[in-house]
């Protein structure tokens, strides 16, 4: 039940990414290109996602157990340190270079050709290297 639910939730997440336009790198770059012909679509993706997720997380904060009986694990870190800020800046550079962030890259693996495949392989290497600095 637990694995089936997370599989279906992953499927839903991926369908949302495809529908939203996030799996199209040219569209992502169109959003990030503020000074060109700006495509504001992706602001609506984040807005729409938060609209639904916000009440759910407020509820989750007040509970200790999930509906399937697991412990609710919310991040406990609150410190704003160099790892957070430098990491976020480096992520943004990579996002601007290729137009892919982690979710859309994985969702494009079987439909997007070589580009998301190469991106995902080096992203996994990057994740492994980054772990050493955490």
């Amino acid at each position: 039940m637990y694995f089936l639910s997370t599989f279906l939730i992953g499927l839903l997440f991926g369908v949302g990414l495809i529908l939203s336009g996030m799996t199209n790198p040219a569209k992502v770059i169109g959003f990030l290109d503020l000074s060109g012909h700006w495509d504001p679509s992706l602001a609506l993706v984040m807005g729409g996602a938060i609209l639904v997720a916000f009440p759910a997380f407020q509820l989750a904060k007040k509970r200790s157990k999930s509906l399937l009986g697991n412990e609710i694990q919310l991040p406990k870190k609150t410190t704003i340190d160099r790892k957070l800020t430098i990491g976020a800046v480096i992520f943004g550079i990579g996002w601007g270079l290729g137009g892919y962030c982690p979710g859309p890259a994985v969702t494009s693996l079987i439909s997007g050709g070589m580009s998301p495949f190469i991106f995902t392989i080096t992203m996994l290497i990057g994740l492994l290297i980054g772990r050493k600095y955490q």
Partner: protein, 143 residues
């Protein structure tokens, strides 16, 4: 700045966003876990047995999503940006950056902002800002 009205897709982007939010809401309320894709992928690379199962199931769902989508309607056309060596560098930076900064667009941008985390707000402003700046430099300065 001018708005590219031809490329603007308010309804499909909003609908996609609502589905992403629904997925994040379901994962935290049903399973008690955060839908942060870089965190889930990073966790899979740790081979920590207790959490590996649900992470693998979630990622399998993500990978298979185009098949489900494609069985209802045609997949939207996709244009990749940059050559393969640029994408290889981009992937390395995205992996390293999200690992160091503990999150990406989904973990910080959707889940973190939804639980009103200051850390996630700072991270989101920074990766958006550096994304804007990177594209500005590539498109309008070094092009």
């Amino acid at each position: 700045m001018s708005i590219d009205w031809n490329a603007f897709t308010p309804w499909s982007s909003l609908a996609g966003g609502l589905l992403i939010g629904l997925s994040a809401a379901a994962l935290i309320l049903l399973n008690g876990r955060i839908a942060g894709i870089s965190g889930i992928l990073g966790g899979l690379l740790q081979f920590r047995s207790l959490e590996t199962g649900w992470r693998l199931a979630f990622i399998t769902g993500l990978i298979l999503a185009p098949l489900l989508y494609g069985s209802f309607t045609t997949l939207p056309s996709v244009i990749n940006v940059g050559d393969l060596s640029t994408l290889a560098i981009a992937g390395l930076l995205v992996g390293f950056g999200t690992s160091l900064g503990n999150g990406c667009t989904s973990g910080h941008g959707v889940c973190g902002l939804s639980r009103l985390s200051l850390r996630s707000l700072i991270a989101t402003l920074l990766f958006m800002g550096s994304g804007f700046l990177t594209v500005f430099l590539l498109r309008h300065v070094f092009s």
